[in-house]
């Protein structure tokens, strides 16, 4: 079983986004970086499948030199190998898909290609689908459930009111969502092992962009809204009511 998981280095933001002075990017001076929560579930799922059925998980990213951190994080979760397409430029979804297709071709034959449903920063929802079309593979998006056996994948896609189930022959492309599974935390030995592995780094050149980004805008929030449920012990029923609505009780 060979699974390739694509990940993207994204900032971990707090409540407030601050833009750079030229409004072209988010100010990341105080921010840490990670892979999107969808992709974390993607890596976890791939690792679980290979743990059960044998094979290998390859993690792939297109990003700056620092994105190596995210590849090592993914290997600490259990991915076996990492491919780093190195570029400092900002790539749009179309160009990204093109570069990934080329890199993935060098890994064929493979059984499963996993993407996050959308990236946590740009949220274009396109790369997984574009790659699937570029490779001529079936693609199912928005997965909350996945089972792989006998050369086929049973995919559960979340829709309002329930789930649509698709049965797809492998090789196939899936884009997954947070909630697919509960990703593990890396152990110390796993981190030390991951840090010792070599990463296959390849320089890539961005093709001429066909999209021009004008600027980023932070939408006006609704402001802080606080609803006072009550005072003292009399507020208890309203609190219980709220907890039930939220589903925590």
């Amino acid at each position: 079983m060979k699974i390739v998981v694509a990940v993207k280095r994204v900032p971990i933001t707090g409540g407030k986004m601050v833009l750079t002075d030229d409004e072209q990017a988010i100010q990341t001076r105080h921010l840490g970086f990670t892979i999107s929560p969808h992709e974390e579930c993607g890596v976890e799922e791939a690792v679980r499948i290979v743990e059960a059925q044998g094979g290998e998980v390859v993690v792939l990213t297109l990003g700056p030199a620092e994105a190596e951190e995210q590849l090592r994080e993914s290997m600490a979760l259990g991915a076996d190998r990492a491919i780093h397409l190195v570029s400092d430029e900002e790539w749009d979804a179309q160009a990204t898909a093109g570069a990934l297709v080329e890199a993935i071709r060098s890994e064929e034959p493979l059984d499963l290609l996993v993407f996050g449903n959308e990236s946590a920063d740009a949220g274009n929802y396109q790369v997984g689908i574009r790659v699937a079309y570029g490779l001529g593979l079936p693609v199912v998006t928005g997965l909350k459930g996945l089972a792989v056996a006998d050369g086929r994948a049973r995919c559960e896609q979340e829709v309002p009111g329930g789930r649509d189930v698709y049965d797809v022959p492998l090789p196939a492309v899936v884009t997954v969502k947070e909630g697919l599974n509960l990703p593990r935390y890396p152990s110390v030995p796993a981190k030390l092992r991951a840090n010792r592995k070599a990463v296959d780094a390849r320089a890539v050149e961005r093709p001429a962009p066909t999209l021009e980004k004008l600027r980023l805008v932070v939408p006006e929030g609704q402001g802080k809204q606080a609803e006072i449920l009550g005072n003292g012990p009399d507020a208890a029923p309203a609190v219980v009511d709220m907890m039930q609505k939220l589903g925590v009780v």
Partner: protein
């Protein structure tokens, strides 16, 4: 709007910062009777997002510093009282032999400060207490059963709410300070995002933000935010059955600068081993911008590689388990200062602006109480002189100095720091006019107050042959570190002929004006209404009659008194005098430290040397002891002061700083036929003064002991009023609870035959090995230690209970785990060398 939330337009005091310090301080001020207090924080409550919010929250009480240990013990008492302290025990483990010796020092310090339940453990014993430790990598451990963890956020909340319940305190969260209004160098009010408050007292308890807040008022709080990394792993199978937060002792892996503590089902692993990562107080993210909190910054994994290996080596049973995952990892921010001590007290730049910053959770409540006392009574029960924010010189407040020393000190957090250890970073800032000559003479430079001072001179190595066996060597590397036998040889040369000393580090300031006499009279214990040209050595007391300082005052005229004090505490002394200037402006203070330099000339031949240089009368009758006058040497007009800290005939010679080099050369040339030698601070600060039993501030003299106990209650109490007078009179009228004695070491032989030499702060014990305790519960410990080359003995000073303070009494001193016999030589200020003081008055 309920009254409690009404915005106050004025307040008795505003405390900025609701971390462990601000909350504790607000509570203690309320206990001391303050009302109309306001506590504000730009973050939310109960966790505004400062260092308290992510602190590791454990407390190890034993420290080599008496002050820090006292603050910690007081803090633990308060945490226990509030029901937020959980005892777990703690073990400092050693991986090296050098560390095993350091653990012995820990045992001694524990004993000296009254913590008796400690013990040294074998690796097997450590494993019994911490079953998941790998005993083969350690050599032993220092066990403190009273170590525990606290809920610092809960304590802060309890403290704050108690003050609110008393009606003394109004609290406003999510309120940011925008400015502090200052007029005539006094606080007038603050401006915030919610409105303004008129007040004359503001306390900055802002942790890593403190420098930014202080700058709004034009003051300086010299700390830097710095990272210390921590991760949390779990769930740990060993902790599955734990009830509560902690059951196993906390481990400090000293040699790797790391710690591991249980936190519920997880294990928190922290490190001070990584490269120093300093941040800027102006560039800390806001609560909204931060993903976790402003002081929980993104983890830089590459800085934790070695630490993961070290932790794995010590705790493989837990960490090799692949089901134990890393759940939390941060670069946590905390505050570091240039000398590693807190920043407490009223800022010297702005009256009414107080600092309570760079304080760890383990000292928080104690500091809150002490600073509240200081604000109320002008002094605190626990001596805070080493944390006094007034202690810094200008260059020490600079960004460069703060950052370089903080970075250097960071990796020594669990380090083995020798008592005489010198800083390496940012040296050569203050050079005396004698510096070039000293370099030519091979001076071994030590730093004090930023000044480079010769500790001894390598060119004096020839004196070792001259004095042969009379010069004691030290066999053990630790005893001989930051030391040279040349010090003892210089001492002998001085006592035989004469020596010159670089005393440029003196802090010198003039008190002038019609109100000058009133000022110095108020501050000094001794009579200042003296004739022109008189030099008075005087203690400076606190209200309760213990020591604030000791210094020398030269009366130069009815409206001019020149105060000379040691460099280490000079700036704090300057502030103390400034704070006691008359309110009518009839006296001023002028800092002359950088205007004058001082050369010390002492020894039996000192007069011969000086007489050869000047036509002025320097005979004993013509120039009496404890007087000063201007004499002419060559083309220099020199203020000569006939006093001596080394107990020899001689003078302090003061000239304008630009003439210092010339003075050195003149004295040097005149001294050659008399065998004059240059001598360092090793003699001036230790051997010379110990033989004369001269007390030193911060060693023998501090806020814990009074004048009578220190054996310095000479003559009558003067009639004019002075700070501490009534307490002092009371002390004179009662028997001292402790007596300052000088002891000599009888036998230096350790078990393996090496001769060992104490360095200071060791516990003094009875002949049967019991701790000596006075009626106030104070332990006897060595306040100063050093060689007495002229009497051929190693000298120690210590306060003893009166029943042991007898000349000839035989006691023990405990040094690095072994006991050595000592004998009381004097139980008052009678010197052990030249008891009649014949030399000084010759």
């Amino acid at each position: 709007m309920p009254e409690a939330y009404q915005w106050p337009t004025s307040a008795r005091a505003v405390v900025i910062g609701a971390g462990i310090v601000g909350n504790s301080l607000a509570y203690h001020l309320a206990q001391l009777g303050w009302s109309d207090l306001v506590l504000i924080d730009k973050g939310p409550l109960p966790n505004p997002g400062g260092s308290t919010g992510h602190a590791s929250n454990f407390i190890f009480p034993v420290d080599h510093s008496k002050e820090m240990t006292q603050l910690t013990l007081e803090s633990v008492r308060q945490y226990r009282d509030a029901g937020v302290f959980t005892e777990s025990g703690g073990i400092e483990v050693a991986r090296t032999e050098e560390r095993m010796q350091e653990l012995q020092r820990r045992m001694s310090s524990a004993r000296a400060w009254g913590i008796d339940d400690v013990s040294l453990l074998t690796p097997a014993q450590v494993k019994e207490l911490v079953p998941y430790i790998e005993e083969s990598v350690i050599l032993g451990g220092f066990y403190s059963p009273s170590v525990g963890i606290v809920d610092s956020l809960r304590f802060g909340t309890i403290a704050r709410e108690r003050a609110q319940e008393q009606g003394a305190l109004a609290v406003f969260a999510n309120t940011e300070v925008l400015g502090i209004d200052v007029a005539n160098r006094r606080v007038e009010g603050i401006r915030t995002t919610r409105g303004d408050i008129e007040t004359d007292t503001v306390v900055v308890c802002c942790g890593v933000w403190s420098p930014k807040i202080a700058r709004m008022a034009g003051a300086s709080i010299p700390l830097t935010p710095a990272v210390h990394q921590m991760i949390d792993v779990g769930p740990v199978p060993h902790f599955r059955d734990t009830k509560g937060v902690i059951e196993f002792p906390i481990v400090r892996d000293m040699d790797t600068n790391m710690y591991e503590r249980q936190d519920g089902s997880g294990l928190e692993i922290g490190s001070y081993a990584h490269r120093p990562i300093l941040h800027d107080p102006e560039e800390i993210p806001s609560n909204e911008e931060a993903a976790l909190s402003p002081t929980e910054l993104p983890f830089t994994e590459k800085d934790f590689q070695q630490q993961m290996e070290d932790a794995l080596e010590l705790i493989p049973e837990v960490l090799n388990d692949e089901s134990v995952g890393i759940k939390y990892a941060i670069n946590g921010l905390l505050s570091l200062t240039p000398d590693g001590l807190p920043l407490l007290g009223e800022t010297p730049e702005v009256k009414g602006l107080w600092s309570a910053a760079a304080v760890w959770v383990k000292e928080g409540p104690g500091v809150g109480k002490a600073v509240a006392e200081w604000m109320t009574h002008g002094e605190s029960e626990i001596d805070l002189q080493s944390s006094d924010i007034a202690r810094f010189y200008e260059h020490q407040k600079s960004r460069k100095h703060v950052r370089s020393r903080a970075a250097e000190g960071f990796n020594k957090t669990y380090g083995i720091v020798h008592p005489a250890e010198q800083w390496e970073s940012n040296r050569n800032v203050r050079l005396s006019p004698f510096h070039a000559r000293e370099r030519e003479l091979g001076a071994a430079f030590f730093e004090a107050a930023g000044w480079e001072r010769p500790q001894w001179y390598e060119s004096n190595a020839k004196l070792l042959d001259e004095f042969g066996d009379r010069v004691t060597r030290r066999e053990a590397e630790w005893d001989a570190r930051w030391w040279s036998p040349i010090v003892n040889a210089e001492h002998l040369a001085m006592r035989e002929r004469a020596a010159i000393f670089d005393l440029s580090a003196f802090c010198i300031f003039d008190v002038t004006g019609p109100g000058a006499l009133e000022t110095v009279q108020t501050v000094s214990m001794r009579q200042m209404g003296v004739a022109d040209g008189k030099v008075v050595y005087t203690p400076v007391l606190s209200q309760r009659g213990t020591f604030k300082s000791d210094l020398t005052v030269m009366k130069l005229g009815d409206e001019r008194f020149r105060v000379v004090t040691g460099g280490a505490h000079g700036m704090a002394d300057l502030k103390w005098y400034a704070d006691h200037l008359p309110a009518d402006g009839s006296a001023q203070i002028t800092d002359l430290t950088s205007a004058w330099t001082t050369l010390g000339l002492w020894g039996p031949r000192a007069r011969d040397v000086l007489a050869a240089l000047t036509n002025d009368d320097v005979s004993h009758e013509g120039f009496p002891f404890a007087t000063c006058r201007t004499i002419e040497i060559d083309s220099l007009r020199v203020l000569a002061s006939r006093i001596s800290y080394v107990g020899e005939l001689g003078w302090e010679l003061y000239v304008p700083i630009e003439q210092g080099a010339r003075l050195w050369d003149l004295v040097w040339e005149a001294g050659e036929p008399h065998g004059l030698v240059p001598a360092g601070i090793g003699v001036y600060g230790t051997t010379g003064r110990l033989e004369k039993c001269y007390r030193a501030f911060a060693f023998e003299l501090d806020a814990d002991y009074d004048v009578v106990e220190a054996g310095m209650a000479w003559g009558r109490v003067k009639t004019p009023d002075f700070v501490g007078k009534s307490a002092h009179v009371t002390h004179r009228g009662q028997d001292p609870v402790a007596v300052l004695c000088t002891l000599t070491v009888d036998d230096h032989s350790s078990r393996d035959g090496t001769k060992r030499y104490m360095l200071g702060r060791e516990p003094v014990l009875s002949k049967r090995g019991e701790s000596l305790l006075d009626a106030h519960g104070r332990r006897s410990y060595v306040t100063s230690a050093g060689a007495g080359p002229s009497i051929g003995k190693h000298i120690l000073m210590s306060y003893l209970p009166p029943e042991n303070a007898n000349v000839g009494e035989e006691l023990l001193v405990e040094y690095l785990g072994e006991r050595y016999p000592v004998t009381v030589a004097t139980n008052d200020s009678t010197p052990v060398f030249d008891p009649e003081n014949a030399r000084v008055r010759s």
